[in-house]
Amino acid sequence: MAGQSDPHVSLFSAEEVEFIAEDEMVEIVPNMTIERLNFISGDFGPFLPLTVNQVPLWLAVALKKRGKCAIRPPHWMSVENLTKVLEEERDSQGAFQALPFHYVEISRLLFDHAREDIPDIYLVRSLIEDIRDVRLHKVETSLEKFSGTSAVKIPNLSAMEVNIIRPFVGRALQAFYKHDNPEKIPDIDRVSSGQSRVANSEPPRRPLRR
């Protein structure tokens, strides 16, 4: 089954999040001539040696794996910028700094496949790991202050972070909502038992309170 993630564990699997991130554009410098590529997902090239081209990340990685290009790390991945972001991230308690929505996945793919193209890779890598840790910690502490509501703004949260908190936050908010409006939500237990009977592929949903 074409990589279908189990919708009950998490909405999007890590692979699917990475798949989405692979469409982000990066700059490459090819070392060979490649004719124009007319893909379903758009037209890219023509590629000439030593000229900069914008391509999606998956194409960049594919070319890089075959040694046909060098990937230019994006501007936000410079040591100066990351140091600045990390400092600000530590200073401000409530807010998150602006980073690309897919910064975790992009940096991970580049670390895996284009190590020699990133200057100061060890520094960059540890900076990004620190930023990620600080942000995750911040997410956890703000979750402690959570209360029932119908909408929460989460500015600058990244795709991976959203994916991590989604199952917990979604259920927590739903539980808050259910307790605030007992008449609006039908009893989950009853619905799920009916569900497991009619569509028996469905394991009975765990009741929200526990």
Partner: protein
């Protein structure tokens, strides 16, 4: 055949080869373990396709989007102006922007959006008929192109790149159709008796849901229901005294989803008693502006999603 126009430059009169490749596609599809739907919906129709069709369709699709937009506006006029009080006029962009985004967006991008929305929303969304059709045509054309490249001894590097692009598009399309099938299987009775939901299905999905219901009913009847006391034999009701169908699983519209705002939403009045959001609690109305990322309860925002103002992520 208009293949000569195609930018991949393959021959004009390959009728036989072309037919053969379609047969092959059919065979492979039938062999592979795929859903009923995909077999149903594999259309082999017009012979005139080219890559440019993509752009033309995108522009053709625009009119529909605009209609939707105007409908939305009309409806807005009828509804109470109370909601418009704060920041009216601000909350959406002009159709021109639609045009701009549409011509600069590929079908793959649109398909990805449809796939993510479908995956994230608890209920079934309108089937993207035109989009799926275009995607299918492009995938089929690309399959032929790749085959041709392989036969003509093209650079294996280029061939593999085209193959990767093809695989990505195919994955999106398959996953989109499968997510819908999963939802249909889960909520088949609910979808079937609700006109709004039923109208959101494609023809193939309708025949799928019909046969699915038939099979499930037959199975449950044979294995369990016929052996129960008379009052408890209904497949939709718990017992004969139930007034409404109370054994039909329905999508849980009060689930929370994560949404990204594309065009400003209407200011929405969410609930009366609790309004405080952790990061943002200015007033009683909640409005998303472009670029906002929010965790929201699905139900109040479902129209915004269908109107394309927000995307689920």
């Amino acid at each position: 055949m208009k293949f000569s126009q195609g930018r991949c430059g393959f021959g004009v009169a390959n009728n036989l080869l072309w037919l053969a490749s379609i047969l092959k596609v059919l065979l492979v599809k039938a062999k592979a373990e795929i859903s009923l739907l995909e077999i149903f919906s594999l259309e082999v129709e017009s012979t005139t396709r080219n890559f440019l069709g993509n752009r033309v369709c995108a522009v053709a699709g625009l009119d529909r989007r605009n209609d939707l937009w105007y409908d939305h506006e009309k409806r807005e006029e009828h509804s109470k102006p109370v909601q418009m009080a704060s920041g009216a006029g601000d909350w959406s962009s002009s159709p021109i922007d639609d045009y701009e985004t549409l011509i600069s967006t590929t079908d793959v991008e649109l398909l990805k959006r449809a796939w993510r929305n479908e995956k994230a929303s608890p209920e079934i969304l309108p089937f993207q008929d035109a989009l799926v059709k275009r995607a299918k045509e492009q995938i089929q054309l690309m399959e032929e192109t790749v085959d041709e490249f392989e036969e003509s001894g093209h650079d294996p590097l280029i061939v593999s790149l085209y193959q990767m692009d093809l695989d990505r598009a195919q994955f999106l399309l398959r996953s989109y159709l499968r997510v819908r099938l999963q939802k249909i299987e889960k909520f088949m009775f609910c979808i079937w008796k609700n006109d709004t939901y039923r109208d959101r299905l494609s023809e193939e999905e309708k025949s799928f849901i019909e046969s699915c219901i038939r099979v499930i009913e037959k199975h449950l009847d044979e294995t369990v229901l016929s052996k129960l006391p008379e009052n408890y034999r209904d497949i939709l009701k718990q017992s004969a005294i139930s007034e409404e169908d109370d054994m039909v699983p329905e999508p849980q519209l009060d689930t929370f989803v994560v949404a990204n705002c594309k065009r400003a939403t209407r200011p929405l009045y969410l609930d009366s008693n609790r309004q405080s959001a952790v990061f943002d609690n200015r007033d009683d109305y909640f409005q998303m502006v472009p670029g906002d990322l929010c965790i929201i309860r699905y139900k109040p925002f479902r129209e915004e999603l269908i109107n394309g103002n927000i995307d689920l992520v």
